[in-house]
């Protein structure tokens, strides 16, 4: 997970932001409770979004309690408390994806960084083992994603869609897990909700992969690393429009799929993420990308 799925605070109401922040803090607390207080450092916005989606589906609304930040006792926080597995699932996804990301980093980094990663690896491995015992399907999905990603990148005929599929499939499977694990609110039906969420997850995953690739474009071009926008199928002119079109397309599909779900308690925050925040994040990356490309060309 890469932390691209955030909310746009300027366009949220105060109560909406509080509700979101309450989920963020609750996930941090859950990581501390299920794994270790240090696991709070791997908390990501993507997993917070996943937790919010899960809580949005739940029959009973979460209860918001006052508390203090675990890392700063002077700061007051709201904590969303839920009887469902929503936070526990999101915490498991956080530690499992952090572990595999670490393995990937060890593989790709220079020696001095590799030493640091190796030092923290046993902690991550322990958390991952614990999470995998509870939710083996999450561990299987994330591991499968990395394996498929490697084989897609090695394929000489790799296309953008092939490269984006492993991340998209993983998030799709993660979202499809929710209706089975959480008692759904009225009038949601399990099979229908599963299909919708699976599609939302697929296109959000695709968007995350592509926005990360756009972010890394210049770095990969210099270092010769794999990037789906550097494939021969990508157009040589109008690259910026091509990238923007691909990102918009993934977001549109996620929005169209989400639109089929009956609105829940966090609808306005989820719409803020899909319609405002993601667009702003991708625009920022594309505009910086423009400057960088011009600089390297000059």
């Amino acid at each position: 997970m890469f932390g691209y799925i955030k909310v746009d605070r300027a366009n949220l109401l105060g109560k909406e932001y509080d509700a979101y922040k309450g989920i963020y803090c609750a996930l941090c607390k859950q990581l501390g409770k299920d794994y270790s207080i240090f696991a709070g450092f791997i908390l990501s916005y993507d997993c917070t979004f996943y937790a919010m989606l899960a809580l949005d589906l739940a029959e009973k609304p979460p209860c918001y309690n006052d508390g203090r930040c675990r890392f700063n006792p002077f700061k007051k926080c709201l904590y969303a408390q839920s009887e469902t597995k929503a936070l526990s699932l999101a915490a498991a996804l956080s530690v499992i994806s952090a572990y595999y990301k670490l393995l990937d980093n060890i593989h790709d980094s220079p020696w001095y960084k590799r030493i640091a990663y190796r030092l923290i690896q046993p902690f991550f491995a322990g958390w991952r083992r614990k999470a995998a015992e509870k939710y083996p399907e999450i561990d299987r999905s994330v591991k499968k994603m990395l394996d498929n990603q490697l084989s897609a990148e090695r394929d000489p005929g790799c296309l953008l869609d092939m490269a984006a599929q492993p991340t998209a499939d993983m998030l799709s499977e993660m979202c499809a897990l929710l209706p089975d694990n959480i008692p759904l609110r009225e009038p949601l039906k399990i099979e229908r909700t599963k299909r919708i969420l699976s599609s939302v997850g697929y296109y959000m995953g695709r968007w995350i992969y592509l926005v990360d690739a756009a972010d890394d474009y210049n770095k990969d071009r210099k270092s010769g690393g794999f990037n789906p926008f550097l494939l021969s199928s990508a157009p040589s002119d109008n690259l910026k429009e091509y990238i923007e079109g691909s990102l918009n397309h993934a977001l549109s599909e996620a929005l169209l799929s989400y639109g089929l779900l009956d609105r829940g308690r966090y609808d306005s925050i989820i719409m803020n993420v899909l319609r405002v925040s993601c667009v702003n994040i991708q625009n920022k990356i594309i505009s910086e990308f423009d400057i960088d490309t011009n600089n390297t060309e000059n």
């Binding site: 953008l160 079109g245 918009n248 799929s257 639109g259 405002v276 667009v279």
Partner: protein, 202 residues
């Protein structure tokens, strides 16, 4: 059956005009054309049916039991294919058997691949989630037969998604811009403040 007012997202005291607007917005949002190439097409169709029924029943209730009016004519599905060279492929796509559809399509020799072949390849890839490939195939189908309404609708839909302007979702009005509404509200606020000081902004 669900409360028809809830389905349309309006209060029971809403005016006929408000109900009509809500219905039109929802119909735009869930129009089958928007979901034609999506694996969730059947769910969108159900949703559309629900909205049509809700609108009809509100109209009936308000007319005090007068004869029922069908609204499905304007926003119905148009899934009847009259002329097609690939009826089996279309059947497989509707049933979600994408691999079978792809196998049949790949069996067509390169020389005899028509615009419809490219369109159907686009449909298969779109439903599979391979948007980039789907876009290329729809574009090719449209270039070969720009006057075919089915191909041009698919291509235009793709272009709307690539610009993030989905009908019914108001995606084009978001962002950092300032809409006419914002300007009006701003002027009204300015007017109130000016009135407090004894003057008028306009």
């Amino acid at each position: 059956m669900k409360n028809p007012y809830e389905v349309l997202g309006v209060s029971e005291n809403a005016t006929d005009e408000e109900i009509k607007t809500a219905y039109r917005n929802l119909a735009k949002k869930y129009h089958p054309d928007n979901y034609n190439d999506s694996p969730l097409a059947d769910l969108a169709e159900e949703k559309m049916k629900e909205i049509n029924e809700a609108y009809d029943s509100i109209c009936d209730m308000r007319r005090n039991g007068s004869s029922s009016r069908s609204s499905t004519g304007s926003y119905g599905t148009n899934s009847s294919y009259t002329r097609t060279s690939y009826p089996d492929v279309r059947k497989y796509i509707t049933e979600g058997r994408l691999d079978d559809a792809l196998e049949l399509l790949n069996g067509v020799p390169e020389g005899s691949r028509s615009a419809e072949w490219y369109f159907l390849m686009g449909m298969v890839f779109s439903r599979k989630g391979w948007s980039e490939q789907a876009y290329n195939y729809f574009q090719r189908a449209y270039q070969m037969e720009p006057n075919n309404p089915e191909f041009s609708a698919a291509f235009n839909n793709m272009n709307a998604r690539r610009a993030y302007t989905n009908p019914g979702y108001n995606t084009d009005t978001t962002g950092m811009g300032c809409s006419t509404c914002d300007i009006c509200t701003g002027l009204m606020c300015a007017d109130c403040l000016c009135s407090c000081c004894g003057g008028r902004s306009c």
